[in-house]
Symmetry: C2
Subunit: 352 residues, 2 copies
């Protein structure tokens, strides 16, 4: 028996689009519409009327749990999610857990604290009969807080779930580390220092994996003296740049895994009268607003916040539609990684 | 007849605090508690039992309408609101209108566009039976969109309402302009240029009023050649600094009404080989993250986002409690201005 998913795949569109066309909504081009209707006719697909009945009871509202709206990544993720939801005729209700504002970084492993704010927020969303939930994490890690028997679909944005039922949409940190390293190598740099974030952090680990992969591809071996860890912020970037230069005085470029640390590195190099990029090239990560205001302006890596948000919403809507049809199983999207893109400015130059 | 408001005023606490004490909640110090109970006894105050009945039907949830979570001011305002709500045992549900993301700056006067996203959001909040609404504006202006017969109290945060029923909590832009000008005058600057935002903007107008007031107090007259308008962003700051220096080549300081414009000014002065602060002192406004990354680090004016948020929540909760009691009228807080504070960094020095 043909499923709505197969129709969508054959036509190269989303399940939501097929559903919209079948529901008579005019949201696609006439060509796409005709293509879908032709395919429906060809396969003899029968919409699941039981599911359509259920569909009628939906609220077309999605709940969003934001771990903290004050994290710099959150507004962009929310914007992408809502952009996509609105295109499909869905609304959103946002709950803000304020985890970082409340407890700085001393809550990651305190499940009790987490639950004291998370559980009521989920209960309120369920009570208001949302059709599904998107969890917007403040930073990437495994977040195992959703009960397995939750009756609504959930998608994890910017972090990893531990459940096959909850797809995770994350930035491709390894590719980001790899691409920036390849870029620096293409400029002739061979001794590339890395100013990483916290050592136990997934973003750090994967970006370093990408860095090592790019070196190995180029026939360079990994030198542990070229790697130091810091705490993501400017102050720790300043202090650890000193340490990095002590370990590896002959490096020609520093790849900082956050823009704020790059700002600290820049200040340390300026205090030491080391010219950027004349003597040392400097690259950041995150492509925050500040990159346009440093002197020189900072080459960085754009996090795909809007795309992660849009894709999370798309996958959730597909799950909402599929879950309403008992005859179909949703595809097991475990982890989907969205690529990061380099933004070139003035802080990297060719190695002499 | 004594009212709960009078008890609160005599004891120097909020109406919510009195209400909490009368409801037997242990949220205040034993001293405050005793003071309130003594005052209740002294005045013979009788809680309005009808109102308490109504109170029981409340959801203890406040709705927040954010004009755009991607505006840099919004996360801080939301954080302050939720901090205060949680202290009082209330929760929040957020709706994000995405006005700036959707329509850039081409929507201010298009009431039809505004209503197409605003009306459904308010309806959804009312349908979920929130006890009141806080409107978080993306920038200050008069926002006349709430119907007069709305059955729930509303507070306007970061903008002005046109209704006596809707208090407005805003940054004290005039005091911000005044304080920064006084600060520059105290450093010996007498020719102080102003790089303002859009001319029709309330923030621009009030900050310029403050600038003029400070000059007049010091016996200096306002010179129109020292004022140029730009569009808040870096690019326009760069272009209009050129214009300002053409009009007033002998200025010794520039007061920029946004940090991003100050970043543009800094870049223009660097391109012209004019040292900051050696030859020209530079001050910004907003105290954004970027101020710590410019070279030199930028002296700026902190917007009171958390305090505006907290105060908005406090006033809304007072209105929720008072509105439940037909015997009392809520105080007419029309506009409450919260002061801005200077953050000194390295871009201002004494005039030689």
């Amino acid at each position: 028996m043909t499923t709505i998913k197969e129709i969508a795949q054959t036509c190269g569109v989303s399940v939501t689009t097929v559903s919209n066309v079948l529901a008579g909504k005019n949201k696609v081009s006439p060509e796409t519409r005709q293509k879908i209707l032709d395919e429906v006719k060809r396969t003899g697909y029968q919409p699941n009327f039981m599911a359509q009945g259920l569909r009628g009871s939906r609220t077309r509202t999605v709940g969003i749990i934001a771990e903290d709206i004050c994290q710099f990544t959150t507004p962009g993720l929310l914007d992408g999610i809502m952009m996509q939801l609105e295109e499909e005729g869905y609304r959103a209700t946002i709950k803000n857990l304020r985890l970082y504002s409340r407890w700085s970084d001393r809550w990651y492993d305190l499940e009790e604290k987490y639950r004291s704010v998370f559980d009521p927020a989920v209960q309120e969303l369920l009570a208001s009969r949302v059709d599904g939930i998107i969890h917007v994490a403040g930073h990437a890690r495994v977040i195992p807080v959703y009960p397995r028997d939750l009756e609504k679909p959930v998608v994890m944005a910017y972090a990893y779930s531990e459940s096959a039922q909850i797809p995770s949409i994350v930035p491709d940190d390894e590719q980001g580390g790899y691409s920036m390293t390849k870029y620096l190598l293409s400029k002739g740099h061979k001794r590339i220092g890395v100013l990483a974030g916290r050592e136990d952090n997934i973003h750090s680990k994967l970006r370093i994996d990408g860095y090592r992969k790019a070196l190995e591809e180029t026939g360079l071996s990994f030198d542990p003296d070229l790697l130091v860890y810091a705490n993501w912020n400017k102050q720790s970037g300043y202090a650890q740049t000193r340490q990095l230069l002590k370990q590896s005085p002959n490096l020609s470029a520093i790849f900082c895994l956050s823009d704020e640390m790059a700002g600290g590195a820049l200040e340390y190099l300026r205090d030491r009268q080391i010219d950027v990029p004349g003597q040392i090239s400097l690259a950041g990560f995150d492509n925050r607003n500040l990159t346009e205001y440093t002197q020189p302006a900072l080459t960085s890596m754009q996090l795909p916040l809007i795309p992660i948000g849009k894709r999370s919403a798309q996958i959730l809507l597909d799950k909402i539609l599929l879950d309403a049809s008992s005859a179909e199983q949703s595809e097991q999207v475990l982890v989907e990684r969205i690529p990061c893109t380099i933004v070139e400015r003035d802080s990297v130059t060719s190695c002499k």
